[in-house]
């Protein structure tokens, strides 16, 4: 069966891990907290939204990543994990990409292969780029506009190259007329009408409908060029052909990956990438605690996955190596969502009752507290997205007056809902993340105080799409509350909220609009958004959408998530970027010593 309750075995495992954690804390040798020294750690949060130790960087050496999870795919078309997008810049280039700068500006788009940002004409429906001179593939051949087009066309081949984001396909060919390059009858397999390549240096995109985020979409690694004669199709992710400063030397999925310098890459052709280390390695661990211990021991420089240290490692690191930690906001919002198909969640007052009744501080604590868990979430737009007001927009006073739960207000809402004595419902939570289960249990406890009895149903986390992504299943199981989290694919309201809040995205399988929001105003705002060319106008619409969503009472945000990420003493030129959800910008990391 795919759903299950917490098993005794897991409890046993957790207990064992706790005992070992205690031993580790006492066994680990004391490290000094020498914030900011030349050879030591840069200091707590020193690389969060600012560059740490940029001047100490030396060219050369081996940058060592450790990871508990391999990428979904290293194929630029297929990867969807945030860390993969971040890492892919080592071996792939795009027309435009995120600025290699800390914090908010890291989320801005800047030219990469292109000589400048797009020339936008035809009312936002035509984007024209010119390619830079000197950009080459790993075999020395120049990167042409046709390579870019072919790379983008691969997104259409979802039957072979499933897994990656499909924004480009949805925007350039919303009716799905093109069959993808593998079924393309044209001799050059470049039959996609929406992209023109008048010469090797020029590429023109024709959008059927304007979309103000199109350039953001082109900055995704799924818009990377791919050389047709090097395309190994479904096997491409095992050995991608490099257009960046590094190329694959070896890759054993789940074991290790080594990148070495691409000698054909010229720094003069690349305004973004500094390419400091000579070699970049990833070693994959199956035991996350082991990885944390080795990071702390200095065997590895940073965690590829960038999802924070596990609880044991965190405890030790915070105590003894605080200077090696950064505490960035991840770009993820953790929240509960109320499917309107499940009674009584069809009634806004019952939804509001849950929001008011919940003890938001307890939930934050269950998620790891303000440092490891994150700030209390007050609305549904991540702080890194333009238009966000952060905690200052708090319509339910979640981080204010009602942060401990407002029983009186909740009872009022229950009365308005016609359920003065409360009601019963089920929380759906995935079973593979202990923190999610802890959140559900915390919520369950606080809702009991307002007479709302919830049962927790833990489902198989690998089956998320099939279980909560199926509205009919949600209704059948009576999931009145679903615990989830969401991060932006690109930092705009469209990149974050379109699939969550737009009525068009309610589908029978793989649904992400769990609340089943069908609000003409919200749909209309999204239409306005894609046509708005002006950045401040876009931000303004984003703010409006966020307000509409919150006013509908569809969501109860838990936290603006934070991570505690490890940075080794060897690292230089380290900074977190909003363009990668608060992860370090991998591509420009350097080492202080080349040994």
């Amino acid at each position: 069966m795919t759903t299950q309750r917490t098993s005794g075995r897991r409890k046993q495992a957790l207990a064992a891990a706790a005992v070992v954690a205690g031993l580790l804390t006492t066994a680990a040798c004391g490290g000094s907290n020498d914030g900011g020294s030349k050879n030591g750690a840069a200091g707590f949060d020193a690389a969060n939204k600012k560059v740490a130790q940029a001047s100490l960087v030396k060219k050369g050496g081996t940058l060592k990543f450790g990871a508990a999870q391999d990428a979904d795919s290293w194929d630029t078309t297929r990867g969807y994990y945030g860390f993969m997008w971040d890492f892919a810049r080592y071996y792939s280039r795009q027309l435009v990409t995120n600025k290699a700068e800390p914090g908010k500006s890291g989320a801005q788009v800047t030219p990469d292969l292109a000589t400048g940002l797009a020339k936008i004409t035809d009312g936002g429906k035509t984007y024209t780029y010119t390619l830079r001179d000197g950009a080459t593939w790993q075999d020395g051949k120049p990167i042409t506009s046709k390579d870019v087009k072919y790379g983008i066309e691969r997104v259409w081949a979802q039957d072979v190259l499933s897994g990656g984001p499909t924004y480009l396909k949805d925007v350039l060919d919303p009716d799905g007329k093109y069959q993808g390059p593998y079924k393309d009858k044209a001799a050059d397999h470049l039959g996609l009408k929406a992209i023109d390549t008048p010469d090797d240096k020029t590429i023109v995109f024709h959008l059927p409908k304007a979309n103000s985020d199109f350039e953001e979409m082109l900055s995704l690694v799924s818009a990377s060029p791919v050389r047709q004669d090097k395309d190994t199709k479904s096997k491409y992710g095992l050995l991608p052909f490099s257009s960046g400063p590094y190329k694959f030397q070896s890759y054993n999925p789940g074991k290790d990956l080594t990148l070495v310098r691409n000698p054909q890459w010229k720094a003069s052709s690349d305004p973004i990438r500094k390419a400091y280390p000579n070699q970049i390695t990833i070693k994959f661990f199956s035991n996350a605690n082991d990885l944390d211990q080795r990071l702390i021991a200095g065997d590895y420089d940073l965690d590829l996955n960038q999802t924070g240290l596990s609880p044991q490692g965190r405890t030790i690191a915070l105590k003894q190596h605080k200077g090696n930690l950064d505490n960035p906001v991840s770009g993820y919002i953790r929240y509960a969502v109320f499917p309107q198909s499940v009674k009584p969640m069809d009634n806004i007052h019952c939804r509001n009752a849950v929001i008011y009744g919940a003890d938001h501080v307890s939930i934050q604590t269950a998620r790891g507290g303000p440092v490891a868990g994150g700030d209390i979430g007050t609305n549904m737009l991540p702080p890194s997205v333009p238009g966000s007001e952060g905690q200052s927009y708090d319509p339910y006073q979640i981080a204010g007056a009602n942060k401990g739960g407002n029983v009186a207000k909740a009872k009022e809402e229950l009365k308005a809902c016609g359920k003065p004595n409360g009601f019963s419902t089920t929380i759906a939570v995935r079973n593979n993340k202990p923190v999610e289960v802890a959140t559900a249990e915390s919520l369950q406890a606080s809702l009991k105080k307002i007479g709302v009895n919830v049962q927790i149903d833990q489902y198989d986390g690998s089956q998320t799409t099939g279980i909560i992504g199926s509205p009919s299943n949600v209704k059948k199981k009576g999931y009145g509350i679903i615990i989830m989290g969401w991060g932006a694919d690109f930092p705009t309201v469209q990149g974050f909220g379109l699939p969550l809040w737009n009525s068009k995205y309610i589908v029978q399988s793989g649904n992400n609009n769990y609340a089943l929001i069908k609000d003409k105003t919200i749909d209309g705002l999204f239409s306005d958004y894609v046509n708005a060319q002006d950045a401040s106008k876009k931000a303004q619409i984003a703010t409006q959408i966020n307000h509409k969503v919150m006013e509908g009472g569809y969501y109860m945000p838990f936290t603006f998530e934070r991570f505690i990420n490890w940075r080794s003493n060897r690292l230089a030129n380290v900074y977190t970027s909003d363009g990668y959800s608060g992860m370090y910008d991998f591509v420009n990391l350097g080492l202080k010593s080349t040994k």
């Binding site: 031993l23 066994a27 199709k233 690998s462 029978q508």
Partner: protein
């Protein structure tokens, strides 16, 4: 003997086919009953139905089970050709298919990881046999003594403590704490001492569990054997006590131990999942756990097949060894 062997091998082949069928059934039928669609988990966040269908098509999930099983077997002996969406790949025999996730060919990964698991299992087996059997024999000979009692308490601990506990503990003490051993796996080709360093804690952890079981079995068996008439006969012949124990009693004691050893080794060769995961050893167990988590059927099937073959071979070897040790079995 030859007819016997042929019969055994035939039975083993049938057994394997049944195992494959069962794995296929679990993989395809259980999600169906639970109302879950595997293909959706292979599509990105925006799972549009056309893409899901295409993935289902590509992975062959829409074919009836029997034809999938048939294709799978055909692939092993004759190779097979994968064609989906204009991507045509010839997979030469022995073809165990390609990972649903990483698109790696399964067979080379299995052959790459197998030696790690084999080294883990064999190394640990040597340790647990030496220490487990020795402790068991000593306990039997000194029954009721302080040694016996403490050995059996330790053995009880070894049997009941889970590997993830003893494994993490040994890492915490010897690798992170005292820093005696750098417990990271290094291929034997890169550095022998590095390899040894990476293997020693997994060996000890695994051996501790099994040594405990073997000590208990050895002790019980030895005590039973020591009460046998033929042991009294051996003494009546004037044999030295060490000959009586070491030769006459040991040979009989080894029979059940060998049976256990065969089964345990067979099962471990399919992957010591917990040990490999705890120590990040790139063996079959680590792979199969990962594959189960990500629903990577071709790998699950591949490892299952290796495990089954290993268990069946182990069974066969045990039977033959049994016949070597116990002449009475040879008649049957």
């Amino acid at each position: 003997m030859l007819a016997y062997l042929i019969r055994r091998l035939f039975a083993a082949a049938v057994m394997l086919a049944v195992i494959i069928l069962v794995v296929f059934s679990i993989f395809f039928l259980v999600p169906k009953w639970a109302g879950v669609d595997i293909a959706t988990s292979f599509v990105g966040k925006q799972a549009d139905p056309a893409a899901v269908n295409a993935v289902r098509e590509k992975l062959g999930l829409s074919d009836p089970i029997y034809s999938q099983v048939w294709e799978f077997f055909k692939g092993i002996f004759a190779g097979r050709t994968y064609a989906a969406g204009g991507d045509v790949t010839r997979c030469a025999a022995p073809c165990f298919g390609y990972s649903f996730r990483s698109e790696q060919a399964v067979w080379p990964v299995l052959t790459d990881r197998f030696p790690v698991t084999l080294a883990l299992a064999l190394g640990a087996a040597v340790l647990w046999l030496v220490f487990g059997v020795a402790a068991g024999v000593l306990s039997a000979l000194k029954r009721g003594s302080l040694w016996d009692r403490s050995a059996m308490v330790v053995a009880l601990g070894g049997v009941s403590l889970p590997i993830y506990f003893t494994g993490l503990l040994s890492l915490a003490i010897f690798s992170y704490g005292l820093k005696w051993i750098d417990a990271q796996y290094v291929p034997i080709g890169d550095s022998f001492t590095g390899w040894l360093g990476g293997m020693i804690l997994p060996w000890i952890t695994l051996a501790f569990l099994y040594a405990a079981m073997y000590a208990r079995i050895t002790r019980a068996t030895m005590l039973e054997i020591l009460g046998e008439d033929y042991i009294r006969t051996a003494r009546a012949k004037g044999l030295r006590e060490q000959t009586v124990i070491g030769k006459h009693a040991m040979r009989s004691t080894m029979t059940p131990i060998l049976t256990m050893l065969g089964m345990d080794l067979g099962a471990l060769i399919g992957g010591a999942i917990l040990t490999e995961t705890t120590f990040s050893l790139p063996g079959l167990g680590q792979k199969v756990l990962d594959s189960i988590k990500t629903q990577d059927l071709p790998f699950i099937l591949g490892v299952t097949l290796i495990t089954s073959v290993a268990v069946l071979i182990a069974n066969l070897v045990v039977d033959i060894l049994y016949a070597v040790i116990d002449p009475r079995v040879r008649l049957a």
